[in-house]
Amino acid sequence: MVLLTLLAAVTLGIIRMRNLFAVVILGGIYSFLMASVMIVLDAVDVAMTEASVGAGISTVLMLGTLYLTHAWEIRPVHRDLLPMFVAVATGAALVFGTFALPPFGAADTPVNTHVAPYYLENSIPDTLVPNVVTSVLASYRGFDTLGETTVIFTAGIAVLMLLKGRRELKPGPKRRRLKR
């Protein structure tokens, strides 16, 4: 519970800060806190992936982008009453919906009784692999993993196509810069 409150505090920091370097570092701290919350929720594979991908690769790529572009956000130009109203209204509707959800940690919900016991009982007889997440990911639902690998491949190709050629420096008109 303390971890969740820390997550909310880091989020407030990300919204308010205008120095993008600090925002990226706060994003890395957020990913580490998220990985700790996931360990408390017994999701160890997911926590390892989120820590390495969110706090590692994502932070490195954003710092690389900051190296190639500016590092400060400008002061907001428009009043943000409408986005704030939309956000608060959506949040209120969702909070109203959470009162119908089962309480945290219950064991008799349909999520936990429908298909999951079959995987937990049959993982070792069928595949000899004790880690149920790996056996479901690679054997029982292997098609999804093939699709996911294809998505990573496509993203790599897309980034290579976008960033490979020579940089063209076009002289443009004098650009109007807003106050930083």
């Binding site: 160890v44 594979d45 926590a47 390892m48 992936t49 390495s52 991908v53 590692g56 690769i57 490195v60 790529l61 690389g64 982008t65 190639l68 007889p125 069928d126 595949t127 000899l128 692999v129 004790p130 880690n131 997440v133 790996t134 056996s135 990911l137 690679a138 054997s139 292997g142 098609f143 993993t145 093939l146 690998t149 294809t150 990573i152 491949f153 993203a155 790599g156 190709i157 980034v159 290579l160 976008l162 960033l163 490979k164 940089r167």
Partner: protein, 138 residues
């Protein structure tokens, strides 16, 4: 810069450890948390760490860009060919059962091969994206 010395010595201690850790996470993914994705990202982190400390050119001499770009589709190819191997031996696509002496061992071998494919693609993609970002001259 004199302070470079600390970084270089620390890197030489850490980088073999990172490689061994990536291999451990990959091959013990069956018995503990881990698997292909986590191992691929840790292996890519090793290359990125080396490139940050020793420079992009010296990193590209050891892990050349052509090899890294070839790794990206090679992993998908390994995954798909395990599926086709299952099909050639008589079962459906991506059924690993005929790959071993009996059905359960076949599944285990299939899972290990598929995770290697995922490792190759993920590591190759992350390093290739990093090389593209850093190679873009200002």
């Amino acid at each position: 810069m004199k302070l470079d010395v600390i970084f270089r010595i620390a890197a030489k201690i850490f980088i073999p450890f990172m490689l061994v850790f990536a291999m451990y996470v990959q091959f013990h993914g069956d018995f503990g948390p881990g698997g292909g994705f986590q191992a691929g990202v840790v292996a890519a982190a090793m290359v990125i760490f080396y490139a940050i400390i020793f420079g992009l050119e010296s990193a590209q001499k050891i892990f050349p860009q052509r090899v890294v770009e070839l790794m990206v589709p090679a992993g998908v190819g390994i995954f798909a060919s395990v599926g086709i191997a299952g099909m050639l031996m008589g079962e459906n696509y991506l059924n690993y059962s005929p790959l071993g002496p009996d059905s359960a061992h076949g599944q285990e071998y299939g899972i290990i091969l598929v995770e290697i494919g995922v490792l190759v693609t993920v590591a190759g993609t992350m390093v290739a994206i990093f090389y593209s970002f850093m190679g873009r001259d200002r």
